[in-house]
Amino acid sequence: MVTEVNLCGVTLKNPVIPASGTFGFGLEMAGEYDLNVLGGISLKGSTLEPRFGNECPRIAETPDGMLNSVGLQNPGVYALVEEKIPQLRKIFGGAVIANISGFSLEEYVKSCSIADKCEGVDILEVNVSCPNVHGGGMAFGTSACAAAEVTAAVKALCHKPVFIKLSPNVTDIVAIAKACEEAGADGLTLVNTLLGMRIDINRRVPILANRYGGFSGRAIFPIALRMVNQVKRACKIPIMGCGGVASASDVIEMMMAGATAVQVGAENLRNPYASKEIVEELPVLMQKLGIENINEIIGVA
């Protein structure tokens, strides 16, 4: 049985990847299980300068999902490449995906080229879709023109495969995906969180200190699946499917929609062992479904 997949020349032993922001820098879980069962890890989103992020509360619950407004808390890209990734590399041989965000074109380019030069990084994931920061993040991912501009600028300087992580908070994700593909993106990660809100009806105030936050979890799976499928039918570059994935069955479904690899996000927050359990569940389900090689199902639906 083959679970191995290939993302732009990077081989993953299986398609399961904890999504950025839901698994820290991998190191946080290092004492819990052997991370090498995972196909890859998408590390916490990093910016050029260290960031505290937004004030708390940063977390709110929803039916079958959650909101977060962490706002890219991170120690900065230098700490990422000098401390976090070398530490992770001592214990992890799978694909390391550096997730980079920024507030200007220049910042994206600078941070990406720093991550690109880091030996431990296999893939760059450019986050143009964070809904929790002002004047950056999602602003670049909701316009085809801006997304293409970031893509072209990063591609001009970086040698490693560049995936652009797109926002679902758009009218036409296909147009943005195509613009990124034409600007040279090697792949796409679909999708980031949807912008949402909860209100404390007793106190009559938003639960999140930042008012709005990114909605993720099982509830968004059908939306993510639809967007992956729409983009798969319009673009040729590989997709990492992301959004509400909670089981091996969801992984299979996401791949049938068109994903080459699948990221597990909010589910890690309800169950920090979720990604590992999905990896274990996957071959059992493949056998049941008569899937000999997982690559045969990519985009069949």
């Binding site: 708390c56 977390i59 039916p63 959650m66 927050l269 309800r270």
Partner: protein, 245 residues
Amino acid sequence: MEKALYTILSNELIADKTYRMRLQGPTGALKRAGQFVDVAIDGFFLRRPLAAQEWDPESLAVIYKVVGQGTEVMSAMQPGQVLELLCGLGNGFDAGACRQSALIACGGLGASPVFSLAKELIAQGKKVCVVMGFNTDADAVLVDDFKAMGADVHLATLDGSLGIKGFVTDAIKAVQPEFDYFYTCGPAPMMKAVCASLEGPGEASLEERMGCGCGICYGCTCHTASGPRRVCADGPVFKKEDIIW
């Protein structure tokens, strides 16, 4: 951290809207008083973080108040029902920081995480003064249990229905306990007042809305003197001088 299934042994009302749930299951991951568990409840996306009040090798107890839909569901649970918990989360209190005598100042359900701490300190031969504050006597929990373990217990309620009328800090002023280290757990304004009014070293157990409960989502980060820290994994207990109120 350990993820396992636990069987409810009992789930009893012990004060106004307040329940004590005893659960049978592995407790090896609990190393220090003040650590917590994260309880999965069917129908709710996130777990509910609750301090371990006490534990033995086969079971543990948590105390919770019905404040929302999740705890409402918990309050109707019956013995024999099975729950999945993440166990042994957070850093817990540093019992070794106290040399001879400790002051424990707690408010409301803040009495729960400091319960095992008091037991541990007393077992180490240290003197323990516990000053407990509640809104009213109907909210009071664990008072007799603290007395039974040999702690010197003092009480304050906002309406004067139990102990002195006033805040925990008022009771501390009245009692003037001797201590070389203090521990506090309760509502943030109470802990802030305790930390501000007491000279000398101590630590407080903070609370924040959490995502994962185990340090991977950075959803509960607070500002501290030594930079951003996750309440769930770097805390919930922080030294007085590190906390930025």
